[in-house]
Symmetry: C2
Subunit: 211 residues, 2 copies
């Protein structure tokens, strides 16, 4: 393995170990010595890559942010209705939070550290929900009389609630929970005739969706 490649692997290992420590013990209580030990490197190697705990947390957040953008980008492929994309994005976010400790920790860090000036992951998610609802409105697939801002409030509130409740009980991030949420919301959101074209279970993204 080349030196550069090895350094990149060490850095990735440290980010993952830090995310695990932050998720388990919280940012304040997580200890750098535990993080380096868990990544299988010396404290010196940790400090070569990251100046301090704040730098590690920033790296976890940056990676979580990239992961969030990745799953949202993935559900955009195919030419489907914006409301279906929103449904799929929520499923993808929940799956990411279930499966990926770096994403989970990145979302949690936003509320554990002092607020920075950068966009938090929650705000990024809110921007995504806003964008997709505006897209649905411009498609003409949003039911009449639905106030977009009310729906952004409801969808962002609920998904952030699932994220937080899912820390103690992963059931809140299950496919079943997210499907139930969209069974509740889609009939309120969709214009007449559109509901039958929406699937609250989300479309699998393994093959291109056909609409």
């Amino acid at each position: 393995m080349r030196k550069q490649e090895r350094a990149a692997r060490t850095r990735q290992g440290l980010i993952r170990a830090a995310a695990q420590a932050f998720a388990q013990r919280g940012y304040v209580q997580a200890r750098l010595t535990d993080i380096s030990a868990s990544a299988g490197v010396s404290p010196g190697a940790l400090h070569f890559h990251f100046e301090n705990k704040a730098a590690l947390a920033a790296a976890v957040e940056a990676e979580a942010s990239a992961a969030l953008r990745g799953v949202v980008r993935d559900v955009y492929h195919g030419r489907q209705l914006a409301l279906q994309t929103l449904t799929d994005a929520t499923h993808a976010l929940a799956e990411l939070l279930r499966e990926d400790v770096v994403a989970r920790s990145g979302f949690q860090l936003g509320c554990q550290r002092a607020l920075g000036t950068e966009l938090s992951l929650r705000q990024e998610w809110q921007g995504c929900v806003q964008h997709l609802l505006a897209l649905a409105a411009s498609e003409g697939t949003l039911a009449e009389g639905v106030a977009q801002q009310d729906m952004v409030t409801t969808i962002v509130g609920a998904t952030i609630g699932f994220e937080v409740l899912g820390r103690d009980n992963p059931e809140w991030l299950s496919r079943q929970t997210i499907t139930g949420f969209w069974r509740a919301m889609q009939p309120r959101l969709a214009a007449p005739g559109v509901l039958g074209r929406l699937d609250p279970e989300g479309r699998q993204q393994t093959e291109p969706s056909v609409c």
Copy 2:
């Protein structure tokens, strides 16, 4: 002031000071010396009332739980529709979280400390939502085809989301946010003819409601 009364006041002051410290610094970082100083009593007086930080946290949670039960009980008065009571209960919970640091801290503690065996405040709230939706179903005021469990998921998820998002930005717990949420949800929940009898802004509880 009688001795007993003075002791009760000191205890209350300590609970409030602890709630403020937990909400500001988190349970782990809150320090007993700061709590006693902020309550204007000696560390010895604190230890007379509370054995340790865990005992203080338990007292904060117990008081928050009593406050939650109080606001829910208050909105039950009057003979109104269960869906209106649920709307009013959500407004009352948001107001409690906005105004009362003990309630706010009590909700936060549930996720900061190791999980105990006692019912958390979030679970109490979930029980309340479940009960009111079942009541609406038995009244016949729930729209056909609405799965109660999906609605419990959505309403609990959203309100817990508002609680968490409201820590950084109180706008998420404002009357405007909660009203927007119910404007989004009531048309989906209410049976035909019932919607016109519901007010998403919540009914003021200063005088008995007339239905």
